[in-house]
Amino acid sequence: MNWIAVKSIYAFEMARFFRTITQSLISPVLSTSLYFVVFGAAIGSRIQEVEGISYGAFIVPGLIMLSVITQSISNASFGIYFPKFIGTVFELLSAPVNFIEIVCGYVGAAATKALFIGVIILITAFFFVDITIQHPIWMVTFLVLTCISFSLMGFIIGIWAGNFEQLQLVPLLIVTPLVFLGGSFYSISMLPPVWQVISHFNPVVYLISGFRWAFFGSADVPIVTSLFAIAGFTALCLAVIGWIFRTGWRIRQ
């Protein structure tokens, strides 16, 4: 392993993030606060407790997941698309690095940024609602795994995208609906039976459910299933990335 190269890519990407740290942080903090005002205070005051938890607290894990997933994807997809777009990718291709090192650098940086924002949102949440985290280690595990797996997915999107529209397409058309329908703002058990069944095909449901379990100790699906789901998703992304690098798809002519 060329660890110096991994570190260089990682540090370079993180420097980009810290250059615009204010923008990077203000927007998630602001939107989370808005969610709390709208969902937590305005709507939440009319909603009964969900599974024994106040609605304001109930949506915290979903809100964090929502931001972490979108941030992971956009950071990672942009991170690798940008060098392709402006042509600096030649340097990656001509450097003595292999695919694993490139992925570690870019995905590592994208996941770190997303994690950072997830933590900021959690801190913001403490200002609005009372939460105690029942399984902190699992909470961190789920959070980190989510950052990594969706950054891997973002990396794939960034490699695939041929223009900026395509870069936005997958997050907009697939990821956002899946996340919103994944139980960020409700419990799956609140849905009519048909929709409960359909929801089980949404991978994000397993993530949010597992994450919420780490907070409150109750879940829509068994925790083991959640772990398998996220592990499976990570493995799938890794396999796709492995294939991309073996074939040079969309990067090396």
Binding site: N2, I4, A5, K7, S8, I9, A11, F12, A15, R19, F82, I86, G87, T88, F90, E91, L92, L93, S94, A95, P96, V97, G248, R252, Q253
Partner: protein
Amino acid sequence: MPDIVKITDLRKAYADGFEALKGVSLNIREGEILALLGPNGAGKTTLISTVCGITTGTGGSVTVGGFDTVTEYRGARSMIGLVPQEINLEPFEKVISTVRFSRGLFGKPKDDAAIEKILRQLSLWDKKDSQIRALSGGMKRRVLIAKALAHEPRVLFLDEPTAGVDVELRRDMWNIVADLKASGVTIILTTHYIEEAEAIADRIGVIAHGELLLVEDKDKLMSRMGKKQLVVQLTQPIDAIPASLASDALTLSGDGHALIYSYDTRAERTGITKLLSDVAAAGLVLSDLETSQSSLEDIFVDLVKEDAA
């Protein structure tokens, strides 16, 4: 000098089926400056890209410093620096951070002294904290060179380093190349300026239509093909060359007004003195003398034309 780069029967067909390299074989000697000439679309960039790992060849093999560029790419690529034809740089990065990044990417530990030396050598030190977008085109090209040199490569590929660069900067660039050569770096550069190849290269290669038409020492090439001509203008036209002057090297111009004598500047005797005294002896009166030497440009144009025919 041993060969540091060995290209053997290298082929490259792009995804659309177009064959940009049709079996190129070329050995590059350690420490030399090799200039690659060729018309637009000849395959110069493709050749460089394939050696550097930006594209994958579809046939043949390349070794750099004994490392195969495909199976031992780490060893091979560590030795190579590449300055691409296009100016590809991140506009918002600082000069020094982008150069440091290049060094790290090639696995070399941080070394600020080495970076400073490179930036000073390229007259970029006072711009080290500027954003790339605030630099002129010539400076940007030098930043690309600095990035390529950041990991102290043994072989440097310069793809049209002086395209769109003014005369003064071009001279600067030549000096930089000469300095690099003096420090032991092997340099392969492509150019459309033949006088550039003439000025700095040790050897010259000519590529057209994906084939290497020739590689030769510049001086040999010039002397082999660069015959010199002496044109002797006569006050009175003549019908034929007088028998006393007859020789293979001498021809008469179409209008009979001039004698054209071809000779080799490097030969021990050019025969000019004898010719001139013979001309006087034959009773011919000279009005003017003129010499001309075919330049690399003529040679190049002839070669490429021949190839197209």
